[in-house]
């Protein structure tokens, strides 16, 4: 039993999705509307929570101070192409398993009262949960790509069906960008596969500079396999995680997608994409990384600044969230590219914290949008549209306060640990970038507190007077996010101990 925990974690949500698909309508309570039978919803939640509990057990049972893969499961899948079902946990992905495990039950709970096609939505969330677990745990790049490319279609449907006015175009842009991204990554995989002899997809066998010095010929030119596949993978993943200038679909989706879907898109897809990037580039391309590190850091710096500057100009909570996410991704990339142990540990840590803070931001902005009817918080002149919510609904104000603090990296919140580690790690190599990071933090302080002032403080507007505080359900699902952020900020030691040994081992091959 305990040897198959990862498989159980991946399969439970799939089972849940199947139940959602085949549950008879009379039992699921679809037609009676939200007040009817709720068996379908409960089953979705139970499956999702069950998978999350096994995931948490998995991470909790991991030994610290060990760089190797743990709880690994390996079965041959397609032997003649050396593809295997190879799953395992180490410091690089353990935190993301926690992130995925926490967020999906919350998303299902957040869409509890969805009126249209609730079963479809929950089923798609469950499929997403399973495939993200798979992506994060897979130790075979074919398997990883397999799970990763499953994730793009549920998003298409989630945006296309439950989105806002222009959902068709948003969904279309997201699928075009995702399938182009997947095509590029797939190309890189095949290139890598045929570059080594014997051909293999296994990360363990490919690690340790197996690709060093390999070249292939295209149209008469000799190209380095390592460099070309690194570029393909970077661009392919940048199309899935919003990296400036490829973020057009992301801001579009931000405006149209339902809040919960956008949380899944920004708080889960983005960290997972960065994780894949880190995993592949640290283990496969030690030859390319030293010079590519500069490049990663500069892309990160551009994202930081672009995200910050664009966020200042936003009047709505949703676009604001998109650009906060963009800026945070920039920060993480600076850590990834620093190639120093503190910076990379910080980046891994910040991946998870980014997920939590962006998800929290999305959750409370979703609640506000639901109550107020739209998510604009100030008009074009910068005057507040809502205001004084804090007196009517102190719980929302408190939650929002914690999340804003974490995004800014206040001491005591999760963002502080991640940000400071990354700053320490990259200071020696890239002092200029750090000045930019400081500037962008100042910008963030400005736009986040403007947002906070417009929404929660000041004179109550007409809309805010009827503003109801958090219900029990909302409190329940916001609690894990807030607690998670505070825990990450106040007691990061156990988590950092998980991450550090793996990062040190990976970095030792780069240098």
């Amino acid at each position: 039993m305990s040897q198959h925990l990862i498989t159980i974690t991946v399969l439970l949500p799939v089972l849940g999705a199947l139940i959602q698909a085949f549950l008879p309508k009379s039992l699921a309570g679809d037609r009676e509307g939200m007040n009817g039978g709720t068996l379908g919803r409960w089953l979705a939640l139970v499956c999702s929570l069950g998978a999350s509990i096994t995931a948490v057990v998995l991470v909790a049972s991991m030994r610290t101070q060990v760089p190797d893969l743990q709880a690994s499961e390996t079965y041959p899948w397609i032997g003649s192409y050396a593809i295997s079902y190879d799953m395992g946990l180490d410091g690089l992905n353990a935190l993301l398993v926690l992130l995925v495990a926490t967020l999906f039950p919350i998303l299902i709970a957040a869409e509890w009262n969805q009126k249209t096609g609730v079963r479809g939505m929950h089923g798609l969330f469950l499929i997403l949960q399973a495939s993200f677990f798979g992506t994060v745990c897979a130790q075979d790049i074919f398997l990883q790509f397999f799970f990763w490319s499953i994730t793009c279609l549920p998003f298409y449907f989630l945006i296309g069906i439950w989105g806002g006015e222009k959902r068709e175009s948003a969904a279309f842009h997201s699928i075009v960008s995702a399938s182009m991204g997947n095509a590029l990554v797939f190309g890189a995989l095949i290139l890598i596969y045929y570059a080594v002899d014997p051909h293999t997809f296994s990360l363990r066998e490919l690690a340790g500079g197996r690709l060093n010095g390999k070249v292939f010929e295209i149209l008469g030119f000799d190209c380095s396999v390592s460099t070309v596949s690194f570029i393909l993978i970077s661009v392919g993943l940048a199309l899935r995680a919003p990296i400036w200038p490829l973020h057009g679909w992301f801001t579009r989706a931000a405006k149209e997608a339902p809040p919960s879907v956008f949380i899944a898109l920004s708080a889960v897809t983005v960290p997972v994409a960065i994780y894949i990037f880190m995993r592949l580039s640290y283990s496969l391309f030690p030859e390319t990384l030293p010079w590519a590190g500069q490049f990663i850091v500069s892309v990160g710096a551009i994202n930081l600044i672009m995200g910050g500057v664009c966020a200042v100009a936003q009047n709505g909570l949703r676009p604001l969230m998109a650009f906060i996410c963009l800026a945070e991704v920039g920060f993480v990339l600076v850590g990834v590219g620093s190639l120093s142990s503190a910076g990379v540990v910080g980046a891994v840590y910040q991946e998870m914290v980014l997920g939590f803070s962006v998800a929290g931001f999305g959750l409370f902005s979703g609640i506000i949008a639901e109550r107020a009817g739209n998510s604009e918080f100030k008009d074009v002149k910068g005057l507040p549209l809502l205001g004084g919510i804090a007196t009517r609904a102190p719980a929302i104000a408190l939650v929002a306060g914690v999340i804003v603090a974490s995004v800014l990296g206040f001491p005591g919140s999760g963002g502080f640990v991640g940000h400071s580690l990354m700053i320490i790690g990259s200071y020696a190599m890239h002092p200029v970038t750090l000045a930019l990071a400081g500037a962008s933090l100042l910008l963030a302080t400005y736009y986040l507190f403007t947002m906070y002032r417009c929404l929660f403080l000041g004179k109550s507007s007409a809309g805010a007077r009827e503003f109801a505080d958090l219900t029990m359900r909302e409190k329940t699902y916001l609690l894990p996010v807030v607690l998670g952020l505070l825990f990450c900020g106040l007691y990061p030691k156990p988590l950092l101990e998980l991450v550090r040994p793996t990062v040190l081992t990976l970095l030792s091959t780069v240098k």
Partner: protein
């Protein structure tokens, strides 16, 4: 006598055909179930006989005109399975009027018989005749919706193209016979190895023969019929034609191109081009063009059947990759993909035929909201479509991977790139179709109460049939290794 044992599958098919025809004459429009049952039992018998024939090993019978080897038996299994699925499809559809279903079964049986002949033929005349037989039947099938203009147009297009292709094939074969004084393709191989032909002669022969094969495959120079016929023909017939004609084409292509135009290379399980004409370049060009055209055209379509037709065309392009490389691994990849296609395409056209019965249209705009009305059918449709274009988690992904992988290994990086991008474009096209099934999900909600009235799914026989397509499909993905191995073993005792 032993020769008769080896053609038992064909004899079974022929007997079943006779019974069905007699039944049609005797009952004429009545006792449909009995006749459909007869066809299924006969096909089941033929399937068993094919499996038994595996025991005998590769042999040539009837004065070296007829080969029974791994390749032909593999294709026979495919064709008989296809015929069985097609018979069930037509039993479930309303597109073919009930009194004409028996006739239709007879045509399907005749079609599968002709395909089995194509798969085994090793003699130029026999190849030509069996292809003619197949195309004649296909022509009837394409025009089976007599009253529909599109169906008539499809039949005429099919006939014109097949006539041109047949003529070209005949010219090519005539020249081939002239230079080698033999009709048996293996004898031709020996004759050509003994004295090599001049550059222009072999080029002309190749172009003529390949033009004919390209019609059968629905690839570049003769690709125009594919979308038209698959759109115009009655949907169950489209299912049969889309898999059957192309698979028969691949059977001929593998046999003729490998046997006549290649010679054994130094490395095990590979071939090299015979003579001075490097025709793999032509094949590669055709493959690339077909993939790109097919997927881009699919992207622009407004009708579901036509879109699938374009995807099928692109599919032929991908499969050609397996032939370009002149490697047994490539051929095994083709066979693996054909098995996947068998289930995926029959499934797609089965669901489309059901939708057509309900709506009387297959335009994307008319499909709106279908998912709310027939949930299992539409989920299966999306699954089959994803499988056709090769998206994970379906086995189609592994199929495409084997093809692209083998192309890259043999230094065709550009083809691999085109294939990957065509897959991306096809995915977008399929998403469009899938999205139109969802349609105005929100707008449909106000009349949610009337959903139960318009709910059209729920017939158990249909669900069972869909499950019988989905489960093998998923098993092919999970046990990909075993299926690939079977395909490889079919090549193991092939008669080159």
């Amino acid at each position: 006598m032993s020769e008769l044992f080896l053609i038992m599958p064909e004899i079974f098919l022929f007997l079943t055909l006779t019974f069905v025809v007699i039944g049609e004459i005797a009952y004429h429009g009545e006792q449909n179930r009995l006749i459909i049952l007869t066809s299924l039992v006969g096909l089941g018998g033929a399937l068993v006989q094919t499996l038994i024939a595996y025991r005998y090993g590769a042999t040539e019978i009837f004065a070296h005109t007829y080969t029974v080897d791994g390749l032909s038996l593999f294709f026979k299994l495919l064709f008989i399975g296809l015929a069985a699925l097609a018979v069930i499809t037509v039993a479930h559809t309303n597109e073919v009027p009930i009194e004409r279903k028996t006739e239709y079964c007879a045509l399907i049986l005749a079609g599968s018989l002709s395909m089995c002949l194509v798969a085994s033929a090793a003699d130029l005349i026999l190849i030509f005749l069996s292809l003619l037989f197949l195309n004649m039947i296909s022509y009837f099938l394409a025009g089976y919706g007599k009253t529909s203009v599109k169906s008539t147009e499809a039949a005429v297009k099919y006939m014109v193209f097949s006539t041109v292709a047949g003529t070209l094939l005949l010219y090519g074969m005539a020249i081939l016979f002239g230079v080698s004084h033999s009709l048996n393709i293996y004898a031709i191989h020996h004759a050509l190895t003994a004295n090599t032909l001049t550059h222009p002669t072999i080029l002309i022969i190749f172009m003529l023969v390949f033009a004919a094969i390209s019609f059968q495959l629905g690839v570049f120079p003769m690709h125009l019929w594919t979308p038209d016929v698959l759109e115009g023909a009655p949907t169950p017939a489209s299912a049969f034609l889309s898999v059957g004609c192309r698979a028969a084409g691949f059977a001929v292509a593998i046999r003729i191109l490998i046997a006549i135009f290649t010679q054994n290379s130094s490395s095990q399980g590979q071939w090299q081009v015979m003579g001075s004409v490097d025709w793999t370049q032509i094949l590669a060009l055709v493959s690339g063009l077909t993939m790109a055209f097919g997927s881009l055209l699919a992207f622009r379509q407004k009708s579901a059947k036509r879109m699938v037709g374009c995807l099928v065309m692109a599919e032929s392009g991908y499969l050609l990759l397996g032939l370009v490389v002149l490697d047994q691994v490539g051929i095994a990849a083709i066979l693996y993909n054909l098995v996947i296609e068998l289930f995926a395409l029959v499934g797609i056209f089965y669901v489309l035929s059901f939708i057509f019965d309900e709506l009387g249209s297959d335009l994307l705009v008319d499909l709106r909201g279908m998912l709310g009305r027939a949930v299992p059918e539409c989920i299966c449709l999306v699954l089959f479509l994803l499988c056709l274009v090769g998206m994970p988690p379906t086995p189609g992904f592994i199929g495409k991977f084997t093809l692209i992988g083998v192309a890259l290994r043999h230094r065709w990086p550009v083809l691999g790139l085109i294939a990957i991008f065509s897959i991306a474009v096809s995915t977008v096209a399929v998403s469009k179709l899938a999205y139109s099934l969802l349609g105005e999900f929100k707008a449909a909600q106000p009349r949610a109460l009337s959903f139960s009235e318009t709910q059209v799914s729920g017939v158990w026989s249909r669900k069972i049939f869909l499950m019988s397509l989905v489960i093998p499909l998923l098993l092919i993905g999970v046990f990909a290794e075993t299926v690939l191995d079977l395909a490889g073993r079919s090549l193991g005792f092939i008669f080159w």
